[in-house]
């Protein structure tokens, strides 16, 4: 009995050491390879259109005259408009903020938290004596983020998770939120986007879990405006009748950390257009 316990004591830490973000990623990607053998990996950046051929035609027609063009222009204007102190957003970023979308979110070892692009934009504002902006309603933050994504198109996501307890905990927190059933309707993100992706919910097909963050923020024609990833997360939580989290909260930052890590290797193609 003692021997068995001793064996267990050795086994438990080694099991948790095996369960790593890299292993999760491999499992995730191969799950979708088996689920949709006709979809090439690089196509998952197109979200639901990577698996829904009939909707794809309409979407491609829409993309010929992108509905978000004016938003990208407006985003560029706001991106270059100086703060009261004369600095611009670009001053806070590597390469003046051009072509860097794929590096977000990252785990900041000094702040001990996940930093998203929108979070970094707000940090930049505060550092320059401006007020942070809302993630909701498709205002300035969504526009600047859309422009920054636009300048990064074609660059591949390569999210790194530092091998520290804090960073792994943040990843694990996001992963857990992804797989936990929530709300009155008792759905997890994974229920629709892993287990039921490709089936029909009424007339809609839930999109696959990889490639979600690549095209955000998105222009939703139904709403006639941009939607940030955190607003979309909140919208999802709302639809399953769960209490949502605030834009920029640790919960949503960590969720973005997990979903973006699962999209590593895919190209930035934001802003996307959706119905």
């Amino acid at each position: 009995m003692f021997k068995q316990l001793l064996l267990l004591a050795f086994l438990i830490p080694s099991i948790s050491a095996i369960a790593s973000p890299e292993r999760d990623y491999d499992e995730f990607v191969s799950y979708f390879e088996n689920r949709f053998p006709d979809t090439p990996f690089e196509d998952y950046k197109n979200g639901v259109y990577s698996i829904d051929k009939s909707a794809r035609e309409q979407w491609e027609a829409m993309e010929e005259f992108p509905p978000y063009e004016l938003n990208v222009d407006r985003g560029e204007e706001l991106f270059n408009r100086p703060f009261k102190n004369g600095n611009t957003y670009g001053s806070c970023f590597e390469n003046d903020g051009i072509g860097i979308r794929q590096n977000y979110p990252y785990f900041d070892n000094e702040k001990n938290k996940v930093v998203t692009l929108e979070g970094a934009l707000n940090d930049c504002r505060v550092k320059n004596g401006e007020k942070p902006l809302s993630y909701f309603k498709g205002k300035e933050l969504a526009h600047v983020s859309a422009y920054m994504a636009y300048t990064s198109r074609g660059n591949k996501f390569n999210i790194q998770i530092p091998n520290t307890k804090e960073a792994l905990d943040a990843y694990e927190d996001g992963r857990r939120l992804y797989f936990t059933k929530k709300g009155q309707l008792n759905f997890s993100c994974a229920d629709c986007h892993v287990y039921q992706t490709g089936t029909k919910l009424r007339a809609d097909i839930p999109s696959p879990a990889i490639g979600h963050p690549t095209h955000f923020p998105v222009y939703r024609s139904g709403m006639g405006r941009l939607v940030t990833l955190h607003e979309r997360f909140a919208g999802c939580l709302n639809r399953i009748r769960a209490k949502s989290f605030k834009g920029g909260s640790d919960e949503l930052n960590n969720l973005e950390f997990f979903t973006t890590f699962m999209s590593n290797g895919l190209e930035v193609n934001g802003p996307g257009s959706r119905k």
């Binding site: 009155q184 309707l185 008792n186 089936t199 029909k200 919910l201 009424r202 007339a203």
Partner: protein, 111 residues
């Protein structure tokens, strides 16, 4: 007076039968209502448009669920049988009342 009581009694006795078609109609409404059962999200149902397909079609319900209690339990809390069930626990989480679920079952048994 006696005949009045008699006819009242008659009405009371017949009432449950008389209201049965209404219960079925109400059950159908609750089944289709997006804010209530929204069963079409996942199940094909006769008369239902734009039905989902990740749950089994709802037909021959009496043959499939001869025991009403089992069907009730499946709608009340399907996680009892399967913790990973995709189907929401409508009763347990208060999305539908006991009474509403019973009306839905009355309707489902006509399918």
């Amino acid at each position: 007076m006696k005949s009045l009581i008699k006819s009242l009694l008659f009405v009371i006795i017949l009432m449950p039968i008389a209201s049965f078609p209404d219960t079925i109609a109400e059950g159908k409404k609750l089944t289709f209502d997006r804010k209530k059962g929204n069963c079409l999200a996942c199940h094909m149902i006769e008369d239902g448009e734009l039905a989902g397909n990740n749950g089994p079609p709802l037909l021959a319900m009496k043959a499939r669920f001869p025991d009403r209690e089992i069907l009730f339990q499946q709608i009340w809390d399907p996680t009892e049988k399967d913790p990973y069930s995709f189907m929401p626990p409508f009763g347990k989480h208060g999305a539908l009342t006991r009474n509403e679920i019973n009306k839905i079952i009355d309707y489902l048994y006509t399918l």
